[in-house]
């Protein structure tokens, strides 16, 4: 029953959630609402599980002074500091956790990590963006045109340049994106049905 019970639950609730979409009746809607609230609670609990897992895995490494233990120590201390200050003092504007830890430390560090992308993109553009085939040429030309069209200076070259870039985004790009989106949606439906029907069981784990 260790595997069968979760599969039965998945099947019953999965089929119900598909059917309820097509039955606009208050009883069915209310029941679907309750199940959606359960989903929110379960997802919220996954944070608790994830936090406990972080502490367990990194705690073990710290205990036996494993590889990169100083980094794990920083992670655990940072995690505990945010958790404790947030629980005690709250996370609203004016609180220590928000003003000192989140706004003054986390945001600048996170934004810096993201900003370094610009440097690596420029370096990669110089070293790796080589036009070796006609497809690469097409990609390079489009990239240059779109990058140029996304900044105001392009209007000095041709007044309609931003509109031309808009056309590239809304016609050739959108056509390709629609194909990808439809393909991905069909794949998601197929995977969802396989999970509901018990054909896809990887979510149950190996035990």
């Amino acid at each position: 029953m260790k595997r069968e019970l979760p599969m039965i639950i998945t099947f019953v609730f999965g089929v119900f959630m598909i059917i309820q979409y097509f039955i606009p009746h208050p009883i069915v809607n209310n029941l679907a609402g309750i199940l959606q609230s359960w989903a929110i609670i379960v997802i919220a609990f996954s944070y608790v599980l994830g936090s406990a897992n972080i502490l367990r895995i990194n705690g073990e490494i710290l205990y036996r002074r494993g590889q990169d233990w100083p980094y794990k120590l920083v992670l655990v201390l940072g995690f505990m500091l945010m958790l404790v200050t947030g629980l005690i003092g709250g996370i609203e504007q004016g609180s220590f956790a928000n003003d000192r830890l989140f706004m003054s430390i986390y945001i600048p560090m996170s934004a810096t990590m993201y900003a370094t992308l610009a440097f690596f993109i420029a370096s990669a553009a110089f070293r790796a963006f080589r036009i070796r085939t006609w497809q690469a040429a097409l990609l390079a030309i489009t990239a240059v045109v779109v990058m140029l069209g996304r900044v105001p200076v392009s209007q000095f070259l041709w007044k309609q340049f931003p509109d031309f870039v808009d056309w590239i985004m809304n016609v050739p790009n959108a056509v390709a994106q629609r194909g990808i989106l439809i393909g991905a949606a069909l794949g998601a439906i197929a995977t969802g049905l396989k999970v509901v029907l018990g054909l896809e069981r990887s979510y149950l784990g190996r035990d």
Binding site: G33, E92, Q93, A125, V144, P152, D166
Partner: protein, 277 residues
Amino acid sequence: MSRFLSRFEKLDRRWIFLLIALAVTLPLFVDLGMSPSSTPPVRDFYNQIERLPERSLVLCSFDYDPGGKAELSPMAYAVLRHLMSKNCRVVVITLWSTGPGLVEEVVNDVCRDEFHRQYGLDYCYLGFKEGREAVMVGMGRSIRETFPRDHYQTPIGQLPIMSDVQNYSSFPLLVNISSGYPGTKEYVQYVESRFAIPLISGASAVSVPEYAAYYTSGQLRGLLTGITGAAEYETLINRKGLAMIAMGGQTMGHLIIIFFILAGNLVYFVNRRGKAR
């Protein structure tokens, strides 16, 4: 010449880093006068808000983290300024766990400090709720059940602005500022057509190629693309903000990258021809 090209091909990447650093920082101190003209998706975004009657209640979902702050915060500021100047009321939420502090700062800066609006009457901030798509769909059933308290733990029932709010049908417009998942794509898939609420979006430039398909299909009634879209929008609302200031750096950064793409390929072709001989 060939020696120069050979050396140029092996250019130390720290020179490239230095050039990019100068290109994006210097324009912050020197105004290059970069003012973009507005494109149709941005004009549509602007018009959706412009058409709202006074005191309309608008739902804003600002879903981004510190990584997206530089691109999306200017949009959030501009949207709230536009809504406040139209005397609209706003309910703000965030679905990103690292978003609450960022969004609270924007809401307080604009609604409280800039426009001196009253919390709970003219605007409210419901904060963060975990659950992603489940929260989006849950709000279609009941916003009170999905967000029983606001960010400051005040029960929703005590906020006058929320007195008539049931679900999405209580709002004439949903504004989403999105840095990825969960965000615009999920609002289109789970909310826009199912609950029949007009949706406009501002997204990071890297996400927009995907969202363009939703704009052309009419599922998105307006679309802002990255910092350029925010700058175009600021031009339309006639309020110079962070996006307009950043346009100089953005322009120079793009030009430097274009230069390196062209220079890299020029050197590659010349060297290849030399080797073939």
